[in-house]
Symmetry: D2
Subunit: 458 residues, 4 copies
């Protein structure tokens, strides 16, 4: 089975050039100035950019959260991903308290198998750090999971102590894995939530007061300092604020191996949304910030201090789920859909706005997450031997985002009415067209599990 993509402009994290691509058995077989071979299928990409299929290293699919289940499972979410140009998701497999990592991985492989439209890998999200859990890490690495996530916004029984954190970093480093962290200070948040509740400040407009940037910066600095003691790499999932990115910069200036991820919503939405009547639609953690934080995040993207942009896709309905928080924002489940819109949003606010080059776009949404999480060069680039995952991207098209364009099962999109420039025209997974002009052609279950390689500094 061969496919020939002709006349496109290939863009990787480094290169931009005009060439044809021949795909054979799902892999890039040949790249040439003009390939005249016979192929089963020929796609004319004239005027299009040919980008590596995007890698979304931050999704939460088919998961219980805050007492509710997300509306998107692997089938619906990866269909949305495919439409948006994302051909790989790295989902958070959740270890339940008392459970094993192996159990988490097995459960998540079941959730994905037979359902996922795109390829997938896993982080394992730890609910606790025990000797048993740490002991399982090498086996998980052998099984293809090389990133382990912990949350610093827990408290009480969910609180992770610094000694545990140190051992987690050391165990991960020893096994060839990397630790990912959600960095907000849970103990302070608990205190703030208690006060807001006691003062009757339960409207979503008070969400930013429960989780201010200082709380994020503090936990970010804490995590970085422990990683430094362990001489271990660290990946900060979901950096939202200038305060937190300042800590990342300071560590990188010292030469520490620190990676930071932000999300499209931190770049294009602001905390003003919480003043809206339906502001609860926008609850996420960390919360949205005032607009000047986005300026700082863009600068950090330019300077190379932010490496990856993940969607943090965690979709809920407004009716019956998010709107439970109308009177009390803590009752709304956290998060919203975004896996589909990620690439277009970053292109529009980044490349089209003159902030970053197309190569940097590829780096942020494909190459860097693939490298950091051990999927490169199978994913994240277009080179001979790589999986033939591609976005034939039209940088000039303009789209108005809306529920009508959204393929998530969620009954709303936080980007309703937003105009973006640039969208996938066609999306290929291992050489097969899985989406075209926002219609999904791929089928549930065709996605494959991607074992991750051990971490090494790119």
């Amino acid at each position: 089975m061969t496919t020939l993509i002709k006349n496109g402009t290939i863009i990787t994290a480094t290169d931009t050039y005009r060439a044809d691509i021949l795909v054979k058995n799902g892999r890039v077989c040949e790249i040439g100035g003009e390939i005249s071979k016979i192929a089963n299928e020929i796609i004319d990409a004239t005027g299009k950019w040919v980008l590596p299929g995007a890698v979304d290293a931050h999704t939460h699919l088919d998961v219980e959260c805050d007492g509710m289940t997300t509306v998107d499972d692997f089938e619906s979410a990866t269909a949305a991903a495919a439409a948006g140009g994302t051909t790989t998701v790295i989902d958070y497999a959740e270890q339940v308290p008392g459970g094993t990592l192996a159990g988490a991985l097995e459960k998540w492989r079941e959730k994905a198998a037979g359902r996922s439209v795109v390829d997938y890998g896993f982080h394992i999200a730890l609910s606790e750090v025990t000797p048993g859990i740490l002991g399982e890490i090498p086996a998980m690495v052998a099984a293809g999971v090389t990133s382990f996530h912990a949350r610093l916004d827990g408290w009480g029984e969910r609180y992770i102590h610094d000694g545990q954190l140190l051992e987690l970093f050391e165990s991960a480093r020893g096994a060839g894995a990397i630790v990912c962290l959600h960095a907000e200070n849970g103990d302070i948040i608990r205190t703030y939530l208690g006060r807001l509740a006691s003062e009757g400040k339960t409207s979503v407009r008070y969400l930013p007061e429960a989780r201010p940037p200082e709380v994020e910066a503090q936990a970010t600095a804490r995590a970085i300092s422990i990683a430094e003691m362990a001489r271990a790499p660290i990946y900060l999932s979901g950096i939202s604020s200038a305060h937190a990115i300042e800590k990342v910069k300071a560590a990188r200036d010292r030469g520490q191996v620190v990676y930071a991820e932000t999300s499209p919503h931190f770049l294009v939405l602001t905390s003003e949304r919480y003043e809206d009547p339906d502001g609860v639609k926008y609850t996420c953690i960390p919360p949205l910030r005032p607009s000047w934080h986005a300026d700082v995040l863009w600068k950090a993207i330019s300077s190379g201090d932010i490496h990856s942009i993940g969607s943090d896709h965690r979709a809920f309905h407004y009716a019956g789920q998010k709107d439970l928080g109308k009177e009390d924002f803590t009752r709304a489940p956290r998060g919203f859909a975004g896996v589909q819109e990620r690439v277009s949003l970053v292109h529009s606010a980044g490349v089209a706005a003159g902030r970053i080059s197309p190569n940097r776009l590829v780096d942020l949404v494909s190459a860097s997450p693939a490298k950091i999480f051990g999927l490169f060069p199978r994913k994240g680039t277009l080179a001979v031997g790589s999986d033939a995952d591609m976005i034939l991207f039209d940088p000039a098209t303009e789209v108005t985002l809306s529920k009508a364009t959204s393929l998530s099962r969620s009954d709303y999109t936080p980007y309703e009415g937003m105009n973006v420039r640039g969208a996938p025209w066609m999306v290929l997974q291992r050489g097969k067209v899985i989406a075209r002009e926002n219609k999904v052609h791929g089928r549930a279950g065709q996605g494959e599990f991607l074992p991750a390689a051990r971490f090494s500094v790119p």
Copy 2:
């Protein structure tokens, strides 16, 4: 004319993969997993890395300096370059006081034409900043020179005032060019030199006292602050010290577009050499530093705060030239040979020592300088359409550097006796083998002038 390179591992700034490369008419025509076409020449690169030909953005060839003429002209230096894997040099064409930029460019094109073994572009080194000079910049950009170099270590008539510097940055930015700077504070150096002379401290062991790191850091900060006022990019040529790199980091943290270049000798040689009986062999500016500076430079390479490594090749004989400084180091001309050893030294001290990945090596010695100076993707990568400049590199070979291995006309090498790991096995320029196992096959004059594109942020 076609050439087929088979079975190598292609390494670019981003990618590492096994593939064959078909070259046609001097350009990469096709890259494929297994190319079975008939070619005029077939090279088996089994076990070799296939790197883009290296780009040395910092050479001084066939030039008068400190009252003497360098021993290498374009013929001898580019032969040495070719042997070492460098297929492009960007040389400094010097505008003489009272002369024009056009005159400098014309003179340098004459020096190179018919002599250069490898391809070449030019920076123009300004000896003064006048309205006339600034007015010529757009024409130079149109003629293919998009980088203009100024020195901050001049004094008296050679002193460049901040107003002039501001206008230089603004003129360059307006014309699509970038300003390069040698950043040491000339006025302070003049003072220190005067003192050392009056105290009879003229042995080369006092060179570091004439040009301490503080003097470099001060000028670096000065240049960066003026570039910031002009909202212009800046390229710092020849950063040698922790003090200076700290200023670079601070500016990049603020989001400023600052590029820093260091040289191999700052990474592998130290100021202890000035204590040697023949210490004057090692005079260069900035001077060599104590070893801890190299540690900081490597960290800055890792963090992405140093972008480019240039040789600063400026070759002299020890006998009759450098040794004139035995009694008085200021009588020794500055600089030494290095264009040939650059790639191997960075591989050995960087990749083989576990400090950087092979991709980062390519970035530092090829891709980034090519991008910053408008030669990419013709140079700096291996992609369809790029010039077929390649190093078939053997990462495992071990070489002892010596005058015997050096192709510079200089009667010594500063790296005498140093063992390095990794060396070019074969070097191709536009598809033709120009060097093989340290023997040059290319002929003088086959190198072409490379007009540079306007600067844009990569």
Copy 3:
């Protein structure tokens, strides 16, 4: 001759306590809980603060500037000073190009002798840095001048090169003196002024564009770095912006001996004034800044990074002098009156507003400038043996500043209509009442010249 001040609250830079003070022959003779001795004069200071007479280390009296002569000479200005609680001024004696330091000192001693109401010392403001000038420094120190001022906002012939600056710092340090600097980058200012002029932007609203904070910060960093090379102390006169104070903090964090002075107008006036129809009244250099800079200056006062507040008194008439700049701000002479209002303004915006303690007020307006400039403990404190210069200060009184309350000869005050809390009730110079409730009792000529001691770190 004895005077007894009873029942006041004595406040020094360190202490606050209730006591009586006995003055004999102009000096503090005794401080006691209840002094019952017979005195020639007894003053009941019940309910008043007894502060050391204030020291204004930044005045420009009876001087030509921008082609005009200030309206205040030593008589009028020091009368205003006395009314405002300032019993010592340190004025800038100006060395004229080609002239000597001795000549400057002689001329200024003549200007002051027989005219000054308060005591006085001198800085010498250098117009150039030559070997001859540097050679005079030790003699000037012997003559009681231990601070030498240079401007970094000159250009062309007035430009001071870094080598000269280094030698100035070293000469001063060697002689026991300190260098004061006006830190703005003259060369950049010249460029900006030229552009504004060519664009017809000559209204005073464009003054901030000619001298933006970046220009101040750049020169501040430059001066600090040269002082560091010289291992010499440095006093930055007239810091106005957050950008500049950031450079001061960085140097102090490294352990460098750096002192910063700001002025009351930078704390209570803002650049919005330049939008006023009579905005030219407010021209000064550096210019007034947007209000957030004042917040940063107050924080630097709290953290101990600003040490001294001087008035920069340089008075002109609006009619016939400042208003010459109505069409072209560069034709307005720089500066305005302020020696009288300084203490009250800092008390009102500082102590009364809860930002600083009364002790810190004394430190800023008396003790620190007296210490840095070698007048302590004769001036700057109330201790046995100190000159009996005192402000009997009423912290509770409220005053509306206006031309009617101003004793400067200037036909306006920049503080017109401003309400302040706290004012001197009575002011004593060497035990004699020289002002009372804004009326001057002292006579011209009673002020004495104060030879300064050599600099030492307090």
Copy 4:
């Protein structure tokens, strides 16, 4: 009862002057150039410095620690203090788990009453942060305790969570108190201790590995960030390292109210002592550091980033106590004697070595701790109305410290054999001579309890 001190040079944190002091009823009654009144006692202080009695804000007397009882109770320790010029100690009253603050205060008042030679105040050291404890703070403030100490080097049940810390800061601020912290990360220390034990690394030479500077810096940053959220002042007790002081500087640069205390042993002893056969004599927490840390601490003293020097006096015998740790350093109780040597050590290594002025000495060992902990101006200065606590100090005398000169009951001194310049000649407490040439004249029980005033920024 009156005492007249004649002919001394009075030195406060600000002033230096020659004067006589008349003491009446234990307080400074009068300061005059020449006081000729009749007094019960006349002391001729010709050639001596008259310093305010020193305030040691960090002692641990008569307390159980690590399962042992300190060898010094209030009687022996305050005798040693008196001999060394310290006339006020602020001791840590320890709240026991489950106990009340009132109980701690009562118990410590009992320990001190009838025994203390010098005056005393208390911090209360919290063993836990509960609503009950926080609720007691206002009553303690009313009872004269305005500083509350917490340890961040606890773990398990002794671990203080950030939410608790936030509430502690807020409660203290609300009540007019300040929080003091021992800042080392207990959880990491526990981990390191466990590893060292398992590796058999129990010799005291491994102590620095259990508590490295990173562990101190991390906890310091943690505490500062939570204080910032609470907008509360913070006092860091026992800063030992460059790493930690860097965090203090950063916070002070932001304008935060942060005070740092170090101890003489961090300035004059180094971690090399742990290599000694009797290295266990020097165990303390944080531990001694390599010598370059002391250089950084001195710079921070100069720049005003360290405010106070306390002894951390916590005395044990070598025989039978410290030597229990010979095989396992964790079995040695922490700390050693130092209350007696503090003033002389800081004078010798600071003033006599040219690092600080005599005024700054007074600031560090008397004025600042008195101000921060609400005892000023009763203590910490020599002003009319202040307690007549004085050191008649001989700056020129030279002393060799040894067990023979030490008045602690401990069977050794960590300063054995060290030569110091400067020592108290005579020490007065409220006008009475309590020590003379290292002999104690004061009697147990003459010291008084000093209620502290509420905290306000000096």
